[in-house]
Amino acid sequence: MKRIAILGSTGSIGTQALEVIQANPEHFHVEVLTAYSNADLLIQQARIFKPNAIAICDTAKLEMLKDALAGEDVKVYGGQESIVQLMSMDSIDLVLTAMVGFAGLEPTLEAIRNKKNIALANKETLVVAGDLVTKLAMENKVSIYPVDSEHSAIFQCLAGEMHNPIEKIILTASGGPFRGKKEGNWKKSPNQKR
């Protein structure tokens, strides 16, 4: 049984991770859920998955969260700092970092300092400070499992290849909705004309 903290549980990755957990109750237990500001969904999730603790970044929503969950056996916190602090809970085995952007950096670092393995869906953490994050993970013997489909693919291809150097990797891109479009008459923005 892995006890999981999901940072960003109300987002796209977070909600899909909860579906996976719901389908595999014998393997996973939800220990912590955190969200940026979607209090309504976080309340629903707390009632269904009965985590030990939840936190919301947007402190304006904290009272509403506490009122709604007054009858439940769950600790409720507010603010980015509380999310960072929750990462030292002994009862967490794996932290799924599924929040958006730079905000993922501090809680991820704190989770690694506390020797929690990371399922990394917040790529910005590595983009911003990949050197510090990977060094800290090495020092704390923490594994970082990629969640991005491309990196998961590479990670899966590397199974059994530990001693074989990589010549190169090829990341596939869908090209997005504007694949094949051309810039055409590029318009300089005002700030570039100065």
């Binding site: 899909q16 790529k123 693919a153």
Partner: protein, 203 residues
């Protein structure tokens, strides 16, 4: 392309994702961020990381070894699969996710990425090669630019301009500390917000 609206940019052909990553996918910044992510995850040199466009999103990525052999991982585009693999590792847990059928995809195609049109990809490669605090600065400017695009304050092509200009303005640090990253992020955010404010007045 400058007339592209957010509702068009939010329609990804294959994947259902959050708003920020969907816009990043439409500018190819997402692939740029992924190159940098891959560099750190797999301890690679920038020259060992390539990007190829594969519109069907069936092959999720490829590794080539020193004997020339390539391994690719494939499947239908469904984020639940990599989420489950990361959470269940090292075990593959059973799933009832839809299975891939070759007969539904008789042709898988590949083409070069257009870095000239999608300038964010080139900016990310430059940031990856130069290293230091440049990827951090680029990321901050991108977050601000995407948020502004989602608020209809800047056009589609302006996002790359804002990011590039911000990357030029914040001072470069070769070996940043955590505090350097924090202050680089903050400085880049205020510069790109300023650029957006000026751009918005002229629209």
């Amino acid at each position: 392309m400058e007339k592209i609206t957010k509702s068009e940019a939010l329609k990804h052909p294959n994947w259902t994702m959050g708003a920020k990553i969907t816009i990043d996918s439409s500018t190819l910044m997402n692939k740029g961020l992924e190159m940098i992510e891959a560099k750190w995850l797999f301890d690679l040199q920038p020259s060992e990381i390539e990007v190829i466009v594969h519109p069907q999103s069936i092959i999720h990525s490829i590794v080539q070894f020193r004997d020339g052999s390539m391994k690719a991982q494939m499947g239908l585009p469904d984020m639940k699969l990599p989420i489950q693999y990361a959470m269940g590792y090292p075990h593959r847990l059973p799933s009832d996710f839809p299975r891939f059928d070759f007969m539904n995809f008789p042709q898988l195609s590949f083409e070069a990425a257009d870095e000239e049109t999608f300038r964010c990809l080139g900016l990310a490669r430059m940031a990856m090669e130069k290293g230091g605090n440049l990827p951090c600065i680029m990321n901050a400017a991108n977050e601000v630019a995407v948020a502004a695009f989602l608020r209809d304050e800047v056009g589609f092509l302006q996002m790359a301009e804002i990011i590039e200009e911000t990357m030029q303005r914040v001072s470069f640090i070769k070996s940043p500390s955590l505090d350097d990253y924090r202050s680089g992020d903050a400085e880049a955010r205020s510069i790109s917000a300023e650029l957006i404010r000026k751009a918005a007045i002229k629209i």
